[in-house]
């Protein structure tokens, strides 16, 4: 599955902007971003529900640009599930097979198989409205998989479920995708879902892909401020490089920065650091800065500490509870910012 330079305009609004994306065979790829970032339009381009203003779409190396959706042989699971209310569960699942003129015996066999895969073999005769949200979701999945499509497209499939069910379905979705081994593109605005489910994540913003990589790369090595900010919590620090691996942030001692590309001395740089990597230091040392505690949010297992550096930049730290000495507002603390915890943003 590949998008080459795909652009889609709605009037004066550019929803998707010269997008290039290649999805590997059997891969689970998440399109992650805030609403309006173009992720759903991208999915609709692949499915054929909208045509690109420019660019090409390839499936299995075959150019399918301009081909109507019913000839693309894809499986789609919609956010609302879009189950046919007038048909039984079994008829819903059989729909794609009937359109492919599969024989009755074969339809029966494969529908039974698909319903078993999603553990709904006992519900075949019921109408979708008689099932719970989680079951409807599984019917939608069975319906999209039963005719063995080339690619499975999931549009926020878990958004309509409540929290507990969502977590259950997330694991089940992943297990089913693995057992079937189908190339899957998954649209979501929920970073936890994307991190937990996907082989790779494409983080999107304003119609473009900001970063494409494994969940670990995206979380640990975000390349832009947008990604660092959108995925997880991060503190952003502006500073000036004084050596290839040294950055002065507050006029205080230079901080050692490790792991990124070599910096040029004198260059303005932006660093990001995850709150769980920031530690309270017992005394002065390398990569330790003084800061004044401005906010404390006790959360049981940890406390969220917001601290302000001398020059006004803020650092967020998750401090594991229980702490030896309780923290207090206005108190001066020493923050240890480990050299390998810094992410250098473009």
């Amino acid at each position: 599955m590949e998008l080459r330079g795909c652009t889609r305009d709605y009037g004066a609004v550019r929803a998707v902007d010269a997008l290039d994306l290649a999805v590997h065979e059997g891969e689970f790829l998440a399109l992650l971003g805030p609403s309006g970032c173009g992720k759903t339009t991208t999915l609709n381009l692949i499915a054929g529900f909208v045509e690109p203003t420019a660019g090409r779409i390839l499936i299995d190396g075959e150019d399918v640009t301009g081909r109507p959706p019913h000839l693309r042989a894809l499986g789609v699971v919609f956010q609302s599930y879009a189950l046919f209310p007038h048909l039984s569960v079994r008829e819903n699942v059989a729909f794609g097979l009937r359109e492919r003129r599969v024989t009755a015996a074969e339809i029966e066999r494969r529908v039974a198989e698909a319903l078993e895969l999603v553990r709904l073999d006992a519900r075949g005769r019921q109408r979708p409205a008689e099932l719970s949200g989680g079951m409807q979701q599984r019917v939608a999945l069975a319906r999209a998989l039963v005719y063995r499509p080339r690619v499975l497209l999931l549009d926020e499939p878990l958004a309509a479920l409540d929290k507990k069910l969502r977590e259950e379905m997330r694991d089940e979705l992943r297990a089913i995708q693995r057992s079937v081994g189908i190339t899957t593109i998954f649209v979501t605005h929920d970073q936890a879902e994307a991190l937990g489910l996907s082989d790779r994540i494409a983080v999107m913003s304003r119609g473009r892909i900001e970063q494409l990589g494994t969940p670990r790369e995206i979380y640990e090595r975000p390349v832009t401020r947008f990604v660092a900010d959108f995925i997880g919590a991060s503190s952003m620090l502006r500073g000036r490089a004084v050596a290839a691996d040294r950055v002065v942030v507050t006029g205080g001692p230079p901080l050692r920065v490790q792991g990124g590309a070599a910096l040029r001395a004198g260059e303005e740089v932006e660093l990001a650091i995850r709150p769980e990597r920031v530690r309270l230091a017992p005394g002065p040392g390398d990569n330790v800065l003084d800061a004044r505690v401005e906010g404390l949010v006790y959360q049981g297992a940890q406390t969220e500490v917001t601290a302000r550096l001398d020059d006004g930049q803020r650092v967020l730290a998750f401090v594991t509870e229980p702490t030896s000495v309780p923290l207090q507002l206005g108190q001066i603390v020493r923050l240890h910012l480990p050299a390998d915890a810094f992410m250098v943003l473009a």
Partner: protein, 258 residues
């Protein structure tokens, strides 16, 4: 208590004329007297054997049948176009197609008469059919339109993603889901068309006239309870049809949704 009395009074006020007609139809004598002087079915017999009524009944069947056959597909397409189509001046189209004819029946009838005369179609039932189509179209468009608005567009996309051509998606998904609206529209079309009088009076003759017109002609010439008997048949049939429809098609659901 007062409310209940008010409702009862209102119901009586609305149904009383109907009940009077039914009572009078059983009169044994040839005058429209109320209360009836006895009980007899002779006027019902007269209704069934009177040749002009037989002919008019056949005409009613042909005209209503013809009009319904035209208006259901046309009305369905119009409703789909109003909701989905890329229409210039959608609000004007909506107002036109959803509101019943606002011109007086006499004016409309005259218009159809002049047109029919100009086209040399005065002896044909096709003019009646055309007029009835125009008169019932808004009812059909409105009821189908309600069903179209309740239709999730994702369902048609789902059908397409599953391999259905646009026509197959329409046949297997859209049309079955429009069924409640179509039934309601059909019902309205039949009731309105069967009872239509003013416009039909202008454009029919002794050969093509439909039942309401034949009844009017009868009343002009005779004053026996035959007409009450025929009216009673009309009333009972309409009542049964609407009751059945409400019971099995859940009409209130179709109309209360929007």
């Amino acid at each position: 208590m007062i409310l209940r009395l008010a409702v009862a009074a209102l119901m009586a006020f609305m149904t009383l004329p109907t009940l009077v007609v039914i009572a009078v139809s059983f009169n044994p004598t040839a005058i429209l007297s109320f209360p009836p002087a006895g009980f007899s079915l002779r006027w019902y017999e007269n209704v069934i054997t009177y040749p002009q009524f037989q002919r008019a009944a056949v005409n009613s069947l042909l005209v209503t049948g013809g009009a319904v056959a035209v208006v259901l597909p046309v009305g369905t397409l119009a409703a789909l176009a109003l909701e989905r189509g890329r229409l210039r001046g959608r609000s004007v189209w909506t107002a036109l197609l959803l509101s019943p004819l606002v011109v007086p029946g006499v004016a409309a009838g005259l218009g159809f008469l002049i047109l029919a005369a100009a086209l040399g179609l005065l002896r044909s039932r096709s003019v009646l059919i055309a007029a009835h189509v125009a008169l019932v179209l808004p009812f059909v468009v409105r009821s189908v339109w309600v069903s179209v608005r309740n239709l999730d567009p994702a369902l048609e996309r789902a059908a397409a993603s599953l391999g259905a051509t646009p026509w197959r998606a329409f046949r297997r998904v859209t049309l079955p889901l429009l069924r409640p609206g179509l039934f309601a529209g059909l019902l309205f079309a039949v009731v309105v068309s069967v009872n239509e009088f003013v416009v039909s009076l202008f454009i029919s003759n002794r050969v093509t006239e439909i039942l309401p017109v034949a009844m009017f002609t009868y009343v002009v010439n005779y004053t026996d309870p035959t007409i009450a008997a025929l009216s009673s048949l009309f009333i009972v049939t309409t009542f049964v049809v609407v009751w059945l429809a409400d019971r099995y098609l859940n009409l209130s659901r179709v109309f209360l949704q929007h």
